[in-house]
């Protein structure tokens, strides 16, 4: 909200403070100044001149030569192009050396121009006679500004304008109003806080408050159909108004805070709203059929044309202002076109009402229309501010429009709620804030902002909450008021920190994630952080069965996406990472080892026990690789393949001490997004997939190189791994192990994995480790065969005899022969 310093100064004396100091004060009392701007024209060098003589420019039809008296020295010649310039006029003259903001010839944007003594078509010009807009005083550019005939020659323009009652230079604060400060959405509201801090009281303008009844009430009838939605409706009448432009002082006020002046009636309603926070509406009283106002809620959807000429569909329950025949305004939001004040309006009905905050908020939301009025109503305006505001506006309209305020008023349903009385314990202030604030200070601070304070039981105060503070409902709200006026910066920090006598609980995931992440980075993986939101089509593709344990999942979409590009939540980290790969490949980066930890989500059966029923969300870890294993000066580069990423996963499982628990299940056939894959399972539970990205998907992402990846259920892995880190250490055997190599020939289609399983199984209990060190196909072996060479290590807690190792080897060879047709190679 824009707040003008000149305007504030109508209510309190701020002359002792700089605009910066006021800005700091506002911010530190809870009215945060987002920005501060000095507005108004710079009139340095502009003086009142007297046109002594005007003659035609000899070389230009449209220019005049003026001899102008500037109050000192000889009159000067000024060339002027305005049609209305004439001898005898008092005019504003920008003297040589003055800098004006003038519109750029090309762009029309104002740019600073410093006037020089110049020749125009051969004639000397010593400055410039100015139009209103050239001085930043208005929009008028039809001709030069003609000043009062008695304006003193040579007077500075600034002094002249001040004499006219205009203060143009102003400081405007843009204040961020928090929802708990409905009282501060006006100049008087802001002045109240400043007054409290500077120990003054707010000077409210004097207003003739009307009595309920009188001529106004005889003329107008107000009927409240829903008194809970509109507990008070005040109507005042002003007759015989001439609709015209507002005077300069009013236009200056509104312009300073960013409002566009419209006409004297509309401007006054806006002015009073920004003065005291009460939104007002002015109807053309002659358009109100039957001189009747009915406030009621709609019972069926209907349409209505608001005064911005928009036809709007109103939801059921919208609170409407109606006359005897039709709707005339959406209560608290915007008036109707059918009853607005126009140039021919002469009688004005001023509405000053209190509407239910929640109802107005609903309507404004449904209509997608937040107005200055709805903004205030939905926060909660002064419950008892209606009569003052209506009378203030009526007086101003009568004054500025030459009309007469009709005696009396309609005051429908004027039953005021009882002000809330709260008990405030002084000890509680210290309990919350950690500093003791004295009884006297507490009373002083609360009283200064309009609270009624009386002593109650010892150590407690009885505090009456003013009706303009609907946000204050509890003791804690009072403590906040005391704290912000006392000043947060005045609350001292204790010298020592108390920490509960209880060790912090460190979840396994908090230990393992940083450890694994750092180790993976050491392995060459680069961590990325990708958007959780993506196109629904993309999300749907990656919700396919091959990433989710053989069954596709249902994606989660948002109801109000920012754009179609971000309409759904990721069911997998893969699409985000592929995007990153594509982005970097397009920028010449081809060696990509990426990792990301992140939540992925999909819909779940609401009956399943998930944290939020209906949604399954868990933390995943993705490793993705593309490019080559880089070459060296004595080593050739090698294209990456699936074994690189599988190896990284095996390494990770070993690091987590759960390698033996995880089963790799191969699916050599293509799925939705993979060409082939390995599923990782613990018993039946799916905990991840290692795969190669399918060509079609790679094309969609415009990828230049094949991508191999592993997406793991990180939460599940941590759950498995956690107990492993509590195990006791095993003593290392003092006895030497025995190493044996074993090469067998098998059918070339025979997968090696099951052979390893057999070796581990039948090597027991002596076998400690088995590795594959060679797989060979070629001349030295039958064409349908391959040779697979294993390195085996045996050991026990004693010295092994060759005989017992030989026996194990024999059993293994026998089993390999029986199950896979393998034969021992010499």
């Amino acid at each position: 909200m824009q707040i003008s310093l000149n305007w504030l100064s109508d209510y309190i004396d701020l002359s002792a403070l700089t605009p910066d100091a006021i800005s700091d004060m506002l911010t530190m009392v809870g009215l945060e100044v987002d920005s501060m701007e000095t507005v108004g024209p710079t009139l340095d060098g502009v003086v009142v001149g007297h046109v002594l003589e005007r003659t035609q420019h000899p070389n230009a039809d449209k220019l005049s030569l003026c001899q102008v008296d500037l109050g000192e020295g000889e009159p000067v010649q000024i060339v002027c192009g305005a049609p209305n310039v004439d001898a005898g006029q008092k005019v504003p003259v920008a003297t040589v050396g003055t800098t004006l903001m003038l519109p750029d010839r090309k762009t029309g944007e104002p740019v600073p121009v410093t006037l020089k003594k110049a020749k125009l078509r051969g004639e000397v010009s010593n400055g410039m006679i100015c139009a209103e807009d050239e001085l930043g005083l208005g929009d008028d550019h039809d001709g030069i500004m003609v000043l009062d005939a008695d304006a003193p020659i040579g007077q500075t323009m600034e002094d002249y304008l001040r004499g006219q009652g205009r203060t143009l230079n102003d400081t405007v604060y843009d204040i961020a109003i928090t929802p708990n400060r409905p009282d501060a959405v006006s100049h008087i509201g802001v002045a109240r806080d400043l007054a409290a801090l500077t120990e003054q009281s707010v000077r409210r303008p004097d207003v003739n408050l009307p009595e309920a009844g009188g001529a106004a009430a005889e003329r107008v009838t107000v009927k409240l159909v829903s008194p809970e939605a509109c507990p008070r409706y005040v109507a005042l009448l002003v007759r015989g108004v001439t609709i015209q432009e507002s005077p300069d002082w009013l236009k200056d006020r509104l312009t300073a805070i960013g409002l566009r002046p419209i006409n004297n009636v509309v401007d006054v309603t806006n002015y009073v709203m920004y003065e005291c926070g009460q939104p007002l509406h002015a109807f053309d009283a002659d358009q109100i059929a039957g001189d009747t106002i009915i406030v009621e809620q709609t019972t069926a959807p209907e349409t209505f044309v608001t005064l911005d000429s928009q036809e709007r569909t109103l939801p059921v329950g919208t609170l409407m202002i109606c006359d005897a025949e039709r709707r005339v305004a959406v209560a608290g939001v915007m008036g109707g076109e059918n009853s607005e004040v126009t140039d021919v309006t002469t009688n004005v009905l001023i509405e000053s009402a209190y509407f239910d905050p929640s109802l107005i908020r609903k309507t404004a939301k449904a209509l997608g229309l937040q107005t200055d009025a709805s903004y205030r109503f939905e926060r909660g305006i002064d419950r008892d501010g209606q009569v003052w505001a209506a009378a203030r506006a009526a007086d101003l309209i009568a004054e500025l429009g030459g009309g007469m305020r009709v005696d009396g008023m309609v005051d429908a349903h004027p039953v005021l709620p009882k002000p809330l009385v709260l008990t405030l314990r002084l000890s509680r202030i210290e309990t919350i804030l950690g500093v003791a604030i004295s009884h006297a200070d507490t009373v002083r601070l609360l009283t200064a902002i309009g609270f009624g304070v009386e002593d109650a039981a010892p150590g407690t105060l009885s505090v009456t909450v003013p009706l303009f503070r609907p946000d204050v409902e509890r003791e804690i709200d009072l403590i906040e008021e005391v704290a912000r006026l006392y000043g947060y910066d005045n609350i001292p920090e204790p010298k020592r920190t108390p920490v509960p006598n209880k060790p912090p609980q460190i979840a396994a995931i908090e230990v393992l994630r940083p450890m694994v992440r750092t180790r993976l980075a050491g392995l060459g993986f680069r961590e990325v952080c990708t958007n959780s939101m993506q196109r629904a089509e993309t999300a749907a593709l990656f919700a396919g069965s091959d990433l989710h344990s053989g069954e596709s999942v249902e994606i989660v979409e948002t109801l109000n996406p920012i754009s179609q590009e971000m309409a759904a939540l990721r069911p997998s980290l893969l699409p985000g990472v592929l995007q990153v790969m594509s982005y970097n490949q397009n920028r010449g980066q081809r060696q990509l080892h990426l990792m990301e930890f992140g939540h992925i989500m999909h819909r779940a059966d609401p009956k399943r026990s998930t944290l939020v029923p209906g949604y399954n969300e868990y933390e995943a870890l993705i490793l993705a690789m593309s490019g080559t294993a880089p070459g060296r000066w004595n080593q050739e580069a090698r294209a990456l393949d699936v074994y690189d990423v599988k190896g990284a996963v095996e390494w990770l499982l070993e690091l987590l001490r759960i390698e033996g628990r995880i089963r790799f299940e191969a699916t050599p056939t293509p799925g939705e997004v993979t060409s082939y894959r390995l599923d990782l399972r613990v018993k039946k539970r799916h905990v991840g997939v290692v795969a190669c990205v399918a060509d079609a998907v790679a094309d969609t992402f415009a990828l230049r190189d094949p991508v191999y990846f592993a997406e793991l259920d990180w939460a599940a892995l941590v759950e498995l791994a956690a107990p492993q880190f509590d195990r006791d250490a095993e003593t290392v055997s003092r006895f030497p192990s025995v190493e044996r190599d074993l090469a067998v020939a098998v059918n070339r289609d025979q997968p090696v994995g099951p052979m390893l399983d057999v070796i581990r199984q039948f090597g027991r209990p002596l076998i400690q480790d088995v590795a594959v060190f060679d797989v060979y196909q070629g001349e030295r072996i039958a064409s349908d065969q391959k040779s697979v060479a294993f390195a085996l290590r045996f050991g026990a807690d004693r010295t092994l005899k060759d005989k017992e190792v030989d026996k194990r080897i024999r059993t293994i060879v026998q089993r390999l022969g029986k199950e896979f047709g393998a034969t021992l190679r010499g």
């Binding site: 500093v435 906040e480 920190t497 509960p500 609980q505 980075a521 993986f525 952080c529 948002t558 990153v580």
Partner: protein
């Protein structure tokens, strides 16, 4: 024997053969003669021959040792200026870097870490945090909705802050509670250099007997000093969050000689005393217990730490950018 020059492997080998050769070595031959020596002289002869053999063996050992150390002193023919076989380097994301730093600082003060879901129900995200339905406070955070409210449920949203985890923790645990909650949050805001549709927060919560606003000020002051240096200037100004009261926003002074005042105040976090309504909502006696809560944006702090101008760089993931961290 003493004069023989033993500076090559060949010389040593021929010395060995000459004196100790199995067939015709001079010393070997002396051993062979022992049996022919008269019995009373045999012992003395044997001792002399043995001494001779030791001498020869010692010379060989010396020569061999000299050979090895000579080899050590000789220059290698490896080209040591060739680059090493360097492992590929990975990196941690700058947000991780900052987050871990934040966690470390709070760990020193006894805070545990808790986490929660990104898809959150309206109850945890709003209602339990004292956001009344149809209250303007709900407009403070532009929300992505996942499920509209119905008769049976209040609706589901993408969490707009990590504060719902406060509720989840308090539902599970009794005071004292001392946790921080890192996590990803979502806001339906126009994307620009200074705002993105998601970002990361760290929430903090301490509920115990005797916790005060002064304690909160102190903790956050320590935090800011740890992160931004001991001379950091800080201010607490009144603000509003539905789930804390009194509430504050915290600014730090960011010096910049190019600015008129020599710098400016930058907001780094929001905080306050846990609202009694929030405590009562999770059955914690708000007369007995008080608490503070705070929340900060990881992106914002990272941007300050590393002078990063555009928040979007975090999600673009240009590896040339990431490589700096």
């Amino acid at each position: 024997m003493d004069d023989a020059v033993l500076d090559t492997a060949e010389a040593i080998e021929s010395f060995r053969i000459q004196y100790l050769g199995r067939k015709s070595g001079a010393i070997t031959n002396l051993f062979k003669q022992i049996k022919d020596i008269a019995a009373d002289e045999r012992k003395a002869f044997g001792q002399r021959v043995n001494a001779l053999r030791s001498l020869a063996e010692a010379r060989i050992a010396d020569a061999e040792a000299n050979m090895t150390s000579a080899a050590r002193q000789e220059a290698t023919d490896l080209d040591l200026t060739l680059p090493g076989r360097r492992p590929v380097s990975g990196s941690l994301h700058p947000l991780t870097d900052t987050l871990e730093e934040i966690k470390r600082i709070f760990a020193h003060f006894g805070f545990s870490v808790a986490e929660g879901p990104e898809i959150e129900d309206d109850w945890h995200n709003f209602s339990a945090l004292n956001f009344p339905p149809d209250h303007p406070a709900r407009d403070m955070q532009d929300t992505f909705f996942v499920e509209a409210p119905t008769e049976e449920s209040d609706g589901v949203v993408l969490r707009t802050h990590t504060s719902p985890v406060q509720i989840r923790v308090m539902e599970e645990q009794a005071p004292p509670i001392r946790v921080i909650v890192p996590g990803r949050v979502f806001r339906n805001e126009a994307i620009s250099y200074k705002s993105f549709c998601l970002f990361h927060q760290v929430e903090g919560l301490y509920v115990d007997e005797g916790v005060t606003f002064a304690d909160l000020k102190q903790l956050l002051h320590i935090f800011a000093q740890a992160l931004f240096g001991a001379d950091v200037q800080m201010r607490f100004r009144p603000s509003f969050f539905p789930f804390t009261e009194p509430s504050a926003e915290v600014d730090i002074w960011w010096p910049n000689p190019e600015l008129p005042g020599g710098g400016r105040w930058l907001e780094i976090l929001g905080c306050g005393m846990v609202d009694p309504n929030v405590l009562e909502g999770v059955n914690i006696d708000s007369e007995k217990y008080t608490g503070y809560a705070f929340g900060m944006g990881v992106e914002r702090i990272t941007m300050l730490r590393y002078d990063i101008a555009d928040i979007r760089s975090f999600y673009e993931n240009d590896v040339r950018f990431l490589n700096q961290f």
